[in-house]
């Protein structure tokens, strides 16, 4: 109840409120940040500064306890090293982000506005997730492929 419902629901509510309050669900604000040659909008930078001001010290502190409060273990990504795969993926993601102005969080949060664009975007994003799964499964089975 606490672990599967209440805590994640509350966290989702706080996260979504943060996105709405900061203007991140507005594609104009996000594209304004990415438009360095135009009328640059620093809002996204301020969001990152605010979020990292909490997560950088907070994550370190949280991990000083051996385990999370309501879970037997931390589920953390294994690799911290720079590799080609996350960089290639980030180029693809960045192009899509720059084309419309949604990354995954704001696209999902914008669903509540009941417009067709976020809905279509989220459906296309889901198709993209499945395509990547199929693509990565294929390239892993191929000899000589780049390890993930």
């Amino acid at each position: 109840m606490l672990r599967q419902l209440l805590v994640p629901l509350l966290c989702g509510l706080v996260f979504g409120t943060g996105l709405a309050l900061s203007g991140m669900t507005d594609t104009r604000v996000v594209l304004g940040f990415l438009d360095i040659a135009g009328d640059w909008n620093p809002a996204l930078l301020m969001v990152m500064v605010g979020a990292l001001a909490v997560t950088i010290p907070g994550f370190w502190l949280a991990q000083q306890r051996g385990t999370p409060l309501f879970s037997p273990q931390f589920f953390l990504p294994a690799s911290r090293t720079i590799e080609a795969k996350p960089l290639i993926g980030s180029v693809i993601f960045g192009v899509g982000w720059g084309l419309y102005g949604y990354c995954p969080g704001p696209a999902l949060a914008a669903l509540a506005g009941f417009n067709w664009q976020p809905l279509l975007f989220v459906v296309a994003m889901a198709v993209g997730v499945y395509l990547e799964k199929a693509f990565s499964a294929r390239s892993q089975g191929r000899p000589g492929s780049i390890p993930p």
Partner: protein, 135 residues
């Protein structure tokens, strides 16, 4: 536009990510949570988080008495192309603005710092090409 609201919004996003890690041990990567739901991975917590994420802006804009922002006027081919690229790219990259940007940098992971710098740079180049070279 005041920079206080984006900063305060960022604090809330950071607090949410911190609570997810400190209480549940989870990284708050929206693309990863979304993919977990699509792949029917065990864990109702993903559905609960996404429910909160979708409901919150509705509550916020209703209580604040301001309309939700209208989506960009781009046509459906652009919406579909962008969505496909974002879905494919974030999964191939193993994270998005939240997973790499907020949580990965929060863990001081060089992998996430490089990924974040890369998608921001790619987004900037794309906007430059669309708005200033072809627009």
């Amino acid at each position: 536009m005041s920079l206080l609201a984006p900063f305060a919004g960022g604090l809330l996003i950071g607090l949410s990510a911190l609570a997810m890690l400190a209480l549940l041990g989870r990284i708050t990567g929206i693309s990863g949570i979304f993919a977990g739901v699509l792949n029917a991975e065990a864990g109702l917590w993903r559905w609960s988080f996404l429910a909160g994420l979708v409901i919150a802006p509705l509550l916020f804009h209703t209580l604040a008495g301001q309309p939700q922002p209208l989506p960009s006027a781009a046509g459906w081919p652009m919406v579909i192309s962008a969505g496909l690229l974002v879905g494919f790219g974030t999964r191939y990259a193993g994270g998005c603005t939240s997973g790499h940007g907020v949580c990965g940098i929060g863990r001081l992971s060089p992998r996430s710092m490089a990924a974040t710098a890369t998608f921001i740079a790619a987004g900037m180049v794309t906007v430059f090409v669309v708005r200033h070279l072809t627009g």
